[in-house]
């Protein structure tokens, strides 16, 4: 057992080294377009994991992600846009003090955005987390819209519908992947801890969990607030990634984009979310061809059909749901030992029986 663990650690370090090397190559040599998609993959990993924590591991059907993302994105924008630029952006109404003379380092702004979102999540959670299933989904969806509409109307804070531009593009490949890695490690540690087990117990059976002494509200709140924090960090990175944000960026469809990744990867699977983040992000870009003209189809409109890629993408998602009902991984994780077993099975050996011990 200890030997296997040692091997897993070595393999993980190797994988990490390969990833860093690949990122280094991409960062130095690939086209701007490829670099952009690479960064977006990392941001989507963070967003997907944050949603998976509530939906997949705790079983809370929350759809408020776009709202928390918006809080993070606006925090980062307002705290990092240079003072001189702020004056030109806020034309209708000047930005309120002290934000108009304040700029903070990107990392600090990310954390502030996260904490702010967690605080908002606390107040949203107090009424919402007492609800279950569909009701909770609708309530959180509503709050997400409220956040967006507040942003649209708080002219002197958010510049309203005009949005914010000139956000410094600090979120390079290293920022994105650094935070994505931290998120993965954090979620993995949380989920495998006693608190993580309690969250899973709530997902499995609320009544039993409560009878075993687990406070439902407190643990759901924990999950909800951490998720909001991470969503805001993802949103902050996203703001820095696109450079220009407005209220329309954070419509409900953003939540569904993330939900799609989580469902595809498997509710309650960290590795699933990571894989699916890559598949969905790259897939959506790759299928962009379909939006343009398709000259080899004689009946196709000359200028192409805008949005065709989403039609195809939705069909692909349907196929995934039909044939892999629990997503690609379900509750399971892709681990070195599971890959090893798969390989030895392919080679015709009997897999070593896995005993789920603790050491």
């Amino acid at each position: 057992m200890a030997k296997m663990k040692k091997r897993s650690v070595i393999l993980s370090i190797l994988l990490l080294a390969v990833l860093v090397l690949v990122l280094f190559l991409i960062d130095g040599h690939a086209s701007k377009y490829i670099i952009r998609i690479t960064r977006l993959c990392a941001i989507n990993i963070i967003l997907a994991l944050s949603m998976n924590l509530v939906q997949g591991f705790t079983g809370i059907f929350s759809l408020g992600h776009a709202g928390f993302m918006a809080i993070g994105a606006y925090s980062v924008a307002l705290l990092t846009i240079p003072v001189a630029k702020k004056e030109t952006i806020f034309m209708l109404e000047p930005l309120i003090a002290p934000l108009n003379t304040l700029t903070l380092p990107f990392g600090v702004a990310l954390i502030i955005g996260g904490l702010l979102a967690a605080a908002v999540a606390f107040f949203i959670g107090l009424p919402c987390l007492r609800l279950r299933g569909d009701y909770l989904a609708i309530a959180t969806l509503g709050f997400s819209e409220i956040i967006r509409i507040l942003i649209t109307n708080a002219q002197s804070l958010t510049n309203g519908a005009q949005g914010l531009k000139s956000i410094p593009k600090t979120a390079d490949v290293w920022w994105c992947y650094g935070i994505a890695l931290l998120t993965i490690v954090f979620i993995a540690l949380l989920i495998s801890s006693s608190h993580g087990r309690a969250l899973k117990a709530i997902r499995e059976d609320e009544i039993a969990a409560e009878s075993m002494g687990i406070s439902l509200l407190r643990h759901k709140m924990l999950s909800f607030m951490i998720s909001a924090f991470l969503a805001a960090v993802g949103g902050g990175l996203y703001a820095s990634y696109i450079g220009t944000i407005g209220p329309d960026v954070f419509q409900i469809s953003r939540t569904y984009d993330i939900l799609m990744i989580v469902v595809m990867g498997g509710m309650g699977s960290i590795t699933g979310s990571v894989m699916a983040a890559f598949i969905v992000t790259i897939g959506q870009e790759w299928l962009r061809v379909l939006d343009g003209p398709l000259p080899f189809l004689s009946f196709w409109p000359e200028n192409g059909v805008a949005g065709m890629r989403m039609v195809v993408f939705s069909l692909l998602l349907l196929v995934v749901i039909l044939f892999f009902r629990n997503g690609l991984f379900g509750h399971k994780e892709l681990t070195w030992s599971s890959i090893g077993n798969r390989l030895s099975r392919l080679a015709g050996h009997k897999p070593a029986k896995e005993v789920n011990g603790h050491e």
Partner: protein
């Protein structure tokens, strides 16, 4: 220090116009095994739910170790020392046998999630203790070999045992078992009877159980309470209950009660 573990005083549970439990009075002393019996729909499980905080009694009181626990949330009551199993087994189905028992010890963790995530030395020590206790309990129940299995994949009898192991992991002073022998054959019931006695002696527990298998009830109980239509109709030693006319009438139907 009184010997009384649980005391239910004039507890009534009303759902709209329906009186599910009416003026229930009962008490259980230290290390007793007490059975709560009665025909279907008599209000036994409702009584359980009042004791464990799932329902708040419409009126009356529940005391654990002379402390009022009426209306407390189920998780607080679990902290106070009552653990239960469910009539229709409620395990954490998709989780492993070991995880099921580990989860039940979370309430005694006494640390924030930050120490949990950071794996502080104190957390690791507690986690190791939890693991050892889970091992002890699962070995006692004969489930250690299947610790890595998913709970829902276990055969029915083992799931029942796992539910008991999980309840014991919360370190209760009072254990409530809701029809532990349901669906068991006579041989299995006999084994269960021995198991419950063993648990009581090993863990110095007090046990209250709902059961329909009369052989189990008569064999295991120190005392029996009989409910019918939400009201208590008899209490006493197994022998007394067996010969009680009203109990026989409630179960078999008598001349004046042919519902």
């Amino acid at each position: 220090m009184s010997n009384r573990v649980l005391e239910v005083k004039h507890a009534t549970m009303r759902f709209g116009g329906l009186v599910a439990v009416n003026d229930l009075n009962m008490h259980i002393d230290k290390q007793e095994i007490v059975a709560l019996i009665g025909p279907n729909g008599a209000g036994k499980t409702t009584a359980f739910n009042m004791i464990t905080g799932v329902y708040k009694p419409t009126s009356g009181q529940v005391l654990l170790d002379d402390r009022i626990i009426t209306g407390m949330r189920p998780d607080r009551i679990a902290h106070a020392g009552i653990a239960r199993t469910f009539q229709n087994i409620r395990l954490f189905k998709a989780l492993t046998v070991l995880d099921n028992v580990m989860i039940a010890q979370h309430l005694r963790l006494g640390m924030t999630w930050v120490s949990s995530v950071l794996r502080t030395p104190k957390y690791r020590k507690t986690e190791a203790e939890m693991y050892n206790r889970a091992k002890e309990l699962l070995e006692y129940m004969g489930l250690w070999e299947v610790r890595g299995e998913i709970a829902s994949s276990l055969p029915y009898g083992m799931q029942r045992k796992l539910e008991i192991a999980r309840a014991l992991a919360t370190k209760p002073s009072l254990l409530l078992l809701d029809e532990p022998a349901a669906g068991m054959n006579p041989a299995e019931s006999a084994e269960l009877t021995a198991l419950i006695r063993g648990i009581r002696d090993q863990f110095h527990l007090t046990v209250l159980l709902i059961e329909h298998h009369m052989d189990v009830v008569m064999d295991i109980s120190d005392r029996i309470y009989v409910l019918n239509y939400g009201g208590l109709i008899a209490e006493g030693m197994p022998a007394e209950i067996q010969s009680n006319d009203e109990v026989i009438r409630a179960y078999l139907g008598g001349d004046d009660d042919e519902a």
